[in-house]
Amino acid sequence: MPARVIVTTSGKGGVGKTTSTANIAAALAKFGKKVVAVDADVGLRNLDVIMGLENRVVYNFIDVIEKTCKLSAALVKDKRVPGLYLLPAAQTRTKDAVNPEQMVALCEEMKPDFDFILLDCPAGIEGGFKNAAAGADEALVVTTPEIPAVRDADRIIGMLESMGKSPIRLIINRLRPNMVQDGDMLAKDDILDVLSSELIGVVPEDESVIRATNNGEPMTMTLDSPAAQAYLNIAERILGRDVPLMDLESYATRGFLSSIKRFFTGKRKR
């Protein structure tokens, strides 16, 4: 069966597109799938460092499109997880170096050899987004529980719908369960109320995301944190398995100081 092509996008920058792409790609590979993560952020590539493969990049997908090298030469094989590959972006080029037709052709070329092609989309709604989205059949929209991110996600969902992508599923990233409990952060259901999109997972705010980025090792490779578990669950849902949402409330801080705080501020669990 040819690969499923999924674009990870958000509109707003800095909400965790690249982290999500890397972790879902690694998780799918751990489940035995053959996966290529494509960095579609030409000129501002970062998927290579998030995956910890920056030292092994030789060619990039622009080289493949311009036929400077073969596809197999540009693919970087991750030696830690069998079946995981990275196709890097060019760092010294701009988004104009590629057009949507070339992106579609590139994906078509890879489809027979993989189970999943994950496209890591740049922020924004311009050329870079259109290129990345053009090649994809499905979409993952990443948002955080903040007004600017949800607003941009709404715009992106509208654009993806008009491009005929289906399914378009939502990742709520960097949720802080204790802030939600205190009524100081938009809850999962608040976001789902306003966005016409199906939820595929909620990833809690987690310091191990920063450690994983420092180490260049996607969390789902080692699996010792709440965020890693959340991404693994998302990968399982992509595979069509019915995995219940994590009980994020148990991750809310329940320490001594926070009980005192709750007592004095009168804030109760909602």
């Binding site: 607003r151 709404d154 509208g158 009524g183 938009l186 608040d190 004095f264 501020t265």
Partner: protein
């Protein structure tokens, strides 16, 4: 107790409700944002349909989106000069 709740950083009543309300309004406006080009096309097509039934003063047509706090409406002011009598089928 006031200073204590200030000390522990919980002086307000939870900001998520406010975020939710603001988000809803922002999205109502974003989702109904319309380009001048689209509005022109809409206007031309509406005039085309109306012209089958009545003579209208095309110079005085006003079509715009009326943004209220919680809702957006399409408001059209189209002066009619004369209703066309007889069967619509004959006219078109």
């Amino acid at each position: 107790m006031g200073f204590l709740s200030k000390f522990f950083g919980g002086g307000n009543d939870g900001s998520s409700q406010k975020a939710k309300d603001r988000l809803k309004i922002v999205l109502i406006h974003d989702r109904t944002d319309i380009s001048p080009q689209l509005l022109d096309n809409l206007r031309d097509e509406m005039v085309g349909v109306l012209a089958k039934y009545m003579d209208i003063d095309t110079k005085k047509i006003e079509i715009d989106l009326d943004h209220d706090e919680n809702a957006v409406a399409l408001v059209a002011n189209i002066p009619i000069l004369r209703i066309k009598r007889g069967k619509v089928a004959d006219i078109s």
